[in-house]
Symmetry: C2
Subunit: 226 residues, 2 copies
DNA sequence: CGGCATCCGGGAAGATACTG
DNA sequence: CAGTATCTTCCCGGATGCCG
């Protein structure tokens, strides 16, 4: 076994008192913020994280989890028997990183290089709902919708101009939408024509169609100065 | 010479439609967001950037500037003769990255590992004012203050519960504060005792002392779950 | 001096294989 | 399934040098 450095954080520091710099030391390493994103809606297991982040290899995930745990962003917990599996979950402070993810997502959605056709994780889609929801368009409407993506399911509620999304089994919802996250994103954010392409909607399909009108992607930015 | 990939962005992509992932590809590389931060309050020259980000080497800065320019975050402009120097400035879209910097700063300020005694850049300090200003504490108070750090000077105005900070020569201000950014930060964010330590205030010193009461650092987060 | 290319050492990221 | 071990590749950081 070789001697390890005792630096609580990794070696390369910015040496800058600005909080932004410290935030970058904690969340700025590759994949770190995406790991946090995947945990934003509840605990996950090692394998769940790997599955939702294709391209992230096991050893790097191990390093990120260690670093984020050391920084106090997440913790590991063992579920009670008979499950007895280990899950990773955000600390309360880690949960508060959501505004960072939202600001980043809202800003980058305006990039000329943004490609909405790439794969999308279920949690990423749910967080995008929180980010892109437009209370002005929803008005006083209310609804509760279920979303199913393989083993993961979510309930999204809209009421009083507020949208909430949480991992939960769909009960007492107006409709349950099943399909890939990409197909749901296309229905919500795409132009109207291809709506409901590749999706199955159980229950009040009209409720989901109404729902798709309550979101708006921000306009693309120009590459040059105004 | 070896064949270069033509990927407009650097090689390692996340392949994820979520805006957060694209934002990380653009701003997630080392130093990138800090370069943007330094340009947030106006254009800077190559050397100015190096001076405000000690530890960032010239070749890496060149790479970051190239990458950020390719992404449409900043542009380079040559000032009119006789100055004839090249400066880097954010595009309108690049300017909109400030919420990311603010969210990151506000969040990381709660880290148990945050060390406020490290060096601080003038622009970092000004942005922290924007982030940490508490309208409730300022109430209906108004003021205009000048800050001088070597060659860089700024004017901060508070009125109607809003704080603005911009690079400008101090004219028509109540007081002009001169010193290091660290000393100003200690006066504004530190406990009351060491106020005005190492600072010189020209004009209405009382106006600056009042000003220091309008900010509050958020409480430290616990490292463990609640 | 400002901007950028080049070379080099160390270390992080990525892919694969392996173990309990 | 949850990681660890190993190897390769590439990025980061520092130094040097060229050119306007």
């Amino acid at each position: 076994m070789k001697l390890e450095k005792i630096t609580s954080l990794h070696g390369r520091r910015y040496e800058d008192a600005c909080g932004t710099a410290l935030g970058l030391e904690i969340l700025g390493e590759r994949w770190a913020l995406l790991v946090v994103r995947e945990l934003m809606l509840g605990p996950k297991r090692f394998g769940d994280l790997r599955a939702s982040l294709p391209g992230l290899s096991a050893n790097v995930l191990t390093q990120r989890l260690e670093g984020l745990e050391a920084a106090g962003v997440l913790g590991r917990r063992r579920l009670a028997p008979p499950a007895s599996v280990q899950v990773y979950e955000l600390t309360p402070w880690g949960l508060e990183a959501e505004p960072i993810i939202q600001a980043m997502g809202r800003w980058a959605a305006r990039s000329p290089d943004h490609d909405a056709t790439l794969p999308l994780s279920p949690v990423g889609l749910m967080l995008s709902f929180r980010t892109m929801f437009d209370p002005g368009k929803a008005g006083a409407a209310r609804t509760a919708l279920g979303f199913g993506f393989g083993a993961e399911s979510f309930v999204v509620r809209v009421a009083d101009g507020l949208l909430t999304a949480a991992r939960a089994e769909p009960e007492g919802v107006e409709a349950v939408v099943t399909g890939t996250p990409e197909a749901v994103a296309a229905a919500v954010y795409g132009p109207a024509p291809e709506r409901l392409e590749g999706l199955t909607v159980a229950g009040e399909a009209a409720a989901f169609v109404r729902f798709t009108g309550w979101f708006e992607l921000p306009p693309k930015a120009e590459r040059r100065a105004a």
